[in-house]
Symmetry: C2
């Protein structure tokens, strides 16, 4: 079965406060990095999984919007690359 | 001064246990997603900053390996895109 590498990027929505990003941004400002005008912290989730492409795409879309992110507060985007095909 | 968007991707090194990734992976397995063979969770940090490209590149390289990651345990990679130039 083909093997895929996927990356799910999860960021808090623009309209919602990102306390972790604020904290890091404030630290940078305190250290003199005042040319940084915005900073947000999100998650990068790397998965390796097996399956046929349409199944994997559907599975990832489901996971990204349920378990891997909170769709009320976060946006998730998916990158998918096939790394090996094994059609024996 | 030109404006840049940068993304710093921070992942725990392969050799080091990723407890958050393990927890999410175990949850997926429990829910029947047994085609997922690996899962790791890292950070995606998005920055907007002003400056000349060489300065911004040097600043980001410094920040990525000091404040934004722990270089003993984590690897950081940097993406940089210029979004607007204002040479008045």
């Amino acid at each position: 079965m083909p093997e895929f590498r996927a990356v799910v990027h999860v960021m808090v929505r623009r309209a919602i406060l990102d306390p972790q990003g604020r904290a890091v941004h404030a630290t940078l400002e305190r250290l003199g990095h005042d040319n940084v005008v915005d900073l947000r912290v999100g998650k990068r989730i790397e998965l390796t999984l097996h399956g046929e492409r349409p199944d994997v795409e559907a599975q990832l879309a489901h996971l990204a919007s349920t378990i891997l992110s909170n769709p009320v507060m976060e946006d998730a985007t998916i990158e998918l690359h096939e790394v090996a095909a094994d059609h024996t």
